[in-house]
Structures are given as structure tokens and as C-alpha cells.
Symmetry: C2
Subunit: 187 residues, 2 copies
């Protein structure tokens, strides 16, 4: 299994569909790091070009990795060890390619159905056959069209049997990791 | 389908296993309300006996239901409409019993395996056959033993194929709703 994930703060869209950069949300770091650790994701990349945001993320991570939080909550320390901070998506793809020895399959996630869609079942199979996979999650109102267009595939949107499709990125990432990597035998 | 959920702030346990009351986390309200709305949950009960915490929750909910947030983000308004605030679990069970015309099956969730465990598959089947189900989620380090002992069943813990089992309650609730109520045909 060779899965990495990235949480993208630029380029994403706002509710009018304009391309923006979003601010970091503290619990995006924690919740997605904990889910990544639970499901055996290798690296969790947080992507933002903004220096002030990078400083904030570093402070949060250091508090839990080596500061007061490390002794207080070793489980959190261990989850945050997989977090890596990078300026842009190109650097993420480059790092993952170097680590895996080949370019990963780039799979974006979206609340909308897209033409290059891939099912959860097929993605599970690709992961099971040890293809390197890089999953991208967007903050704000989702990944910018530019990013979606670069991807090899876009995962089918999560459907819950209703017409409401406004999950938080924390919920969506957790559900997607469970659908792709969750252990189900006998459950 | 007749599913309600409750997020419990008392009685829960701290990391030493002592029974405590926990403080409300803003994003627990939002994320779980959005997941509940996505998966067709009827009511999302937030349970705390503390007056100051109740005031805080009311302020947050009112901001999004009728305040500035309602116009800014109608999707959030609609998710928060299912949130109900109650003092204790007994009141939740009473309200759900009145609404459903019978006592719901009380199912707790836990990161640990318990003797009264129920599988996700069996719970799905009970929900599909229209049994009223009330799912309980614990904040802090989980529901107090007293609550777990009152339950008809405890859902199997979420496993991710690793030994790490420290998901946030926001992630756990989202994943559990997806496993129990998620639409999967053709996915």
C-alpha cells in the first residue's frame, strides 16, 4: 500500500467559484492527521504558499511533536509526525514521485461529479495492487478547476442518500479514507 | 429510516478513565450537523448539563440559523436546523421515544471492543427495517461506563488496518454515518 494525501489551501475556490487561497483551520491538521494515521496513510502534506500560515502550522505541529503537547498526548504526537508542509502541489508531486520511484496516480476529490471520475471500488483495487496514489483534498469550497484538470481521476462524490452535499473537508477526508482503506471483513 | 444521534458531553471519561463533563467544541456542532444532514439523520442532539455551555451552543446555532450566518451560508443554516440541545441523556431517550412511538434501540460507539457489540451490517439491516435507532457519540476520551452499560448495543470499533485508534469524534461520527447510511450502489 502506497497512499499519500494532501490538503490544499491554494488554489481553491470560494462560494462564487473564484480562485482563492484559504486560511488554515487548526482541526483540519489534527483530524486529518489522526485519520491518516488510523488508515495507514504514509505522508499527509499540507499545502499553502503563505508564509504566515506556514508559521502558524509549524507552531501547532511543534507544540504537539516536541512541546508541552508531546508529553501530554503521545497519540497526537504520533499522528502529527506524518504531517509535511509544502508551498505548492508541484512540490508534493515531486516529493512523492521521488519517494515512490514513479509518478503517483493523482486523484482529486470533489462534491461534484466530474468527467474523469473513478469509483471507490476501482481506487481500492489500485491501492491493493500497490500503485502509488496521491489523494488531494480541497479546503474552502473545493479544489480549483486548474487542479481538477491536472488530475488523472476525480473520486465519485460522497452521497448520503439525500440531496445535501456540504460535508466539512475533515468529514469528507475521514469518510474517503475509510471507504478506500477501511477494514471491513466481518464488520 | 428512523435514526437520531446524540453527542454527549456528560458523562464522559478523561484520559485517566475518570468520569468528567467536557467543554463544547465549535466544530463538533458544525461537522456532525453537516454529516447528519448528508445522511438523512432526523435529529442531532447535543447533550450538556452546563448552563454556560448551553448558552455558547445557542449563540453559535442562532448565528447560523437566524443571524448573519443564515444569509451568508444557507447550507449551514439548513444543517443546523436539526440540532437540539438537551440537559441529559434521559431527556433525549424520552424525546425520541415520544417522537417514534416506541423506545429506540440505544447504540453506543466506542474505540474499544465491548461485550454487547453489534456489527455495522446488522445495524444497517435494523435501520433498513425501520427500527428506530438512537446512536450515541462521546466527546473527550469517550462515553462513561455508566452510559455504555445502559445501551442495548455498542457498535464495533472503527478499524483502519493499523493499531492506531484515536480518531476525533467528528471523524468517527462521519465514518459511522457513512458505514450505516451511506449509499454505495455502483460506487
Amino acid at each position: 500500500m502506497a497512499v499519500d494525501i494532501a490538503l490544499v489551501h491554494f488554489p481553491v475556490i470560494n462560494k462564487s467559484g473564484e480562485t482563492i487561497g484559504s486560511a488554515v483551520t487548526n482541526l483540519d491538521i489534527h483530524d486529518i492527521a489522526r485519520a491518516a494515521k488510523t488508515y495507514g496513510v504514509d505522508d499527509y502534506y499540507i499545502v499553502t504558499p503563505y508564509t504566515d500560515q506556514q508559521e502558524l502550522i509549524k507552531e501547532i505541529i511543534e507544540h504537539w511533536r516536541t512541546g508541552h503537547g508531546a508529553g501530554y498526548n503521545p497519540a497526537r504526537k504520533s499522528a502529527l509526525e506524518s504531517v509535511k508542509l509544502l508551498d505548492n502541489l508541484e512540490d508534493v508531486v515531486r516529493q512523492v514521485t521521488t519517494k515512490r520511484g514513479r509518478k503517483p496516480v493523482l486523484i482529486t476529490t470533489s462534491a461534484q461529479h466530474r468527467e474523469n471520475s473513478i469509483t471507490f471500488t476501482e481506487t481500492r483495487q489500485r491501492i491493493a495492487s500497490d500503485e502509488p496514489v496521491l489523494l488531494l483534498f480541497g479546503t474552502a469550497h473545493g479544489l480549483a478547476p486548474k487542479v481538477l484538470e491536472q488530475a488523472d481521476y476525480t473520486l465519485l462524490p460522497i452521497k448520503g442518500g439525500t440531496r445535501y452535499n456540504h460535508l466539512s473537508v475533515r468529514s469528507a477526508a475521514s469518510i474517503i479514507l475509510d471507504r478506500l482503506l477501511g477494514y471491513r471483513e466481518g464488520e
